[in-house]
């Protein structure tokens, strides 16, 4: 990633804070003085205790939410509304259940004003890449969780996002399917090298996928520390977890993360 140092970062969050005010007037700080920089083509994972504000950072980058203070920049430009260069993979199922698979994948290009024929062609292409060509006419409820996630990936990747945001995308899948999806994600990512922010609570997932792991504090979230992960690519996720250096990374980061998880847990049990 050294060669990218001179370039403009793909994503920048500069001293960002985000406060919510509930209708009853109580305020809640989700992010405080948050700083993050993602270089073009870099894969960044964000880990932190549950409910610390990880997802909020992603919403700020999409433009669905605005920072209360500070600035969010994409490719050097301040975020102003939803940016067409952004793609988002959700934790829960966000496919349209009343559309079959191919219509779901075609949605993006059609929304963006592409011709129907062209949209159809690239949708078929993307379905082939995620191995679902035989399921074009199926509805989401007829597919397994892993297949639905693949459709989600195709639906997002078809727009060729330069910035890819993923909010615990695989947390609802079983362990084996998750490993398969990791491989799939890395393969798709390697083809185009989008800048990725991958939010997860699974530390091993973060280390296996990312170039850089951000550890957040218990809410209000701010960056506690950043760990560059210097494992060679292409990585084979199913095997990397047995390598000594992988285990060392996990142990070091976990030492750091554990305090925050404990703080968060203590607060939750006090509140209860």
């Amino acid at each position: 990633m050294k060669q990218n140092a001179s370039q403009v970062p793909a994503i920048e969050l500069i001293n960002v804070s985000r406060r919510f005010v509930s209708p009853t007037g109580k305020s809640l700080t989700a992010l405080r003085d948050f700083n993050m920089t993602v270089a073009p083509g870099e894969f960044v994972a964000v880990v932190g205790p549950t409910g610390c504000g990880k997802s909020t950072t992603l919403n700020l980058v999409t433009g669905l939410a605005r920072p209360s203070a500070g600035e969010v920049r994409l490719m050097g430009q301040p975020v102003n509304g939803i940016d067409p260069r952004v793609g988002f993979v959700f934790q829960t199922d966000a496919l349209f259940p009343w559309r079959n698979v191919i219509d779901n994948v075609m949605a993006g290009p059609l929304f963006r004003g592409k011709a129907h024929k062209e949209a159809m062609r690239s949708a078929k292409d993307w379905l082939a890449r995620v191995g679902l060509s035989r399921f074009e006419q199926h509805y989401p409820h007829q597919l397994s969780g892993g297949m639905r996630k693949r459709v989600s990936l195709a639906q997002t990747f078809i727009n060729e996002p330069e910035i890819l945001l993923m909010d615990e995308p695989f947390s609802a899948l079983d362990v084996q399917t998750r490993t398969v999806m990791h491989e799939e994600l890395l393969r798709l990512w390697a083809e185009r090298k989008a800048s990725v922010v991958f939010v997860t609570h699974d530390l091993e997932e973060a280390v296996a996928l990312a170039d850089k792991v951000y550890v957040l504090t218990a809410g209000p979230a701010t960056v506690k520390s950043v760990y560059p992960i210097d494992l060679p690519r292409p990585r084979i996720v199913a095997e990397i977890r047995y390598e000594q250096r992988f285990i060392e990374y996990c142990r070091t980061i976990w030492e750091d993360l554990r305090d925050e998880v404990e703080t968060s847990y203590r607060r939750a049990s006090q509140a209860a």
Partner: protein
Amino acid sequence: MTDAPLDSALPVFRPGTSDAEIEAAAIKVLQRRKHAVRFWQVAILVGILGLWELSSNRLWIDPFFYSSPSAIVARFYEWVTEGTAEGSLWYNLWVTMEEALIGFVAGSVTGVLVGIGLGRNQFLSDIFSVYIKAINSIPRVVLAPIFIMIMGLGLASKVALAFIMVFFVVFANAFQGVREADRNMIANARILGASNWEVTRTVVVPSAMSWIFASLHVSFGFAIIGAIVGEFVGARFGIGQLISIAKGTFDAAGMYAAIVLVMLVTLVAEFIMTMIENRLAKWRPQQHTDMQ
């Protein structure tokens, strides 16, 4: 394979029985159950009608008030062949259906549009919610005399009543359906590039559709109620008017015949609606295999 709801009814085979044999036995059990349901449905109907006829014949109940199935059929036959006191039966039926249908279509279209409009606009819905709640607490049938006073004895007053009966049910459901639309799905559509209008068209409306259809099922019945109540209060023709005349002449059989006629019409409408819904909702997981 098929999950027979009565698994205990399935025979247990020796190990080594072929799959085809087991399947055939399972299908047979399913079919037997289906026939049993149908048999009891018919048996109960025959039983009730038979008991009614018998008690009316034996004067256990007063046939003057309670009539009897045979008298009702006879009156119905007379209406069909000789016409009613107010012209042909079909004309009267058509008048009521016309009122109900126009009211139903206008009421549900307006209800859907207003429901989606207010559901998508928090500010407007905050303003209008109090008025809607207020108007909604008026029992709709009390409006019948007012409508008849303003719009006269003809079509318009009944259509207005059917409209108002249908509108609030459909509106409330469309509004709720819009509010229940999945936030992630909306966010997904917007990030994929959908404009506000496209979000409404491709996400909000389809997800509100099952709510809207649920309300359409009941609201055709409401449209008929509106039309008939309107006719009770004042009309020249229509099924409600027939019932009203029958009441005036103490013709119990005539009242029951009109009621049965309305029941049949509503059942047919309900059936058509279910067919349309099933066609539109082919994306939904099969939730009920009708055991009919």
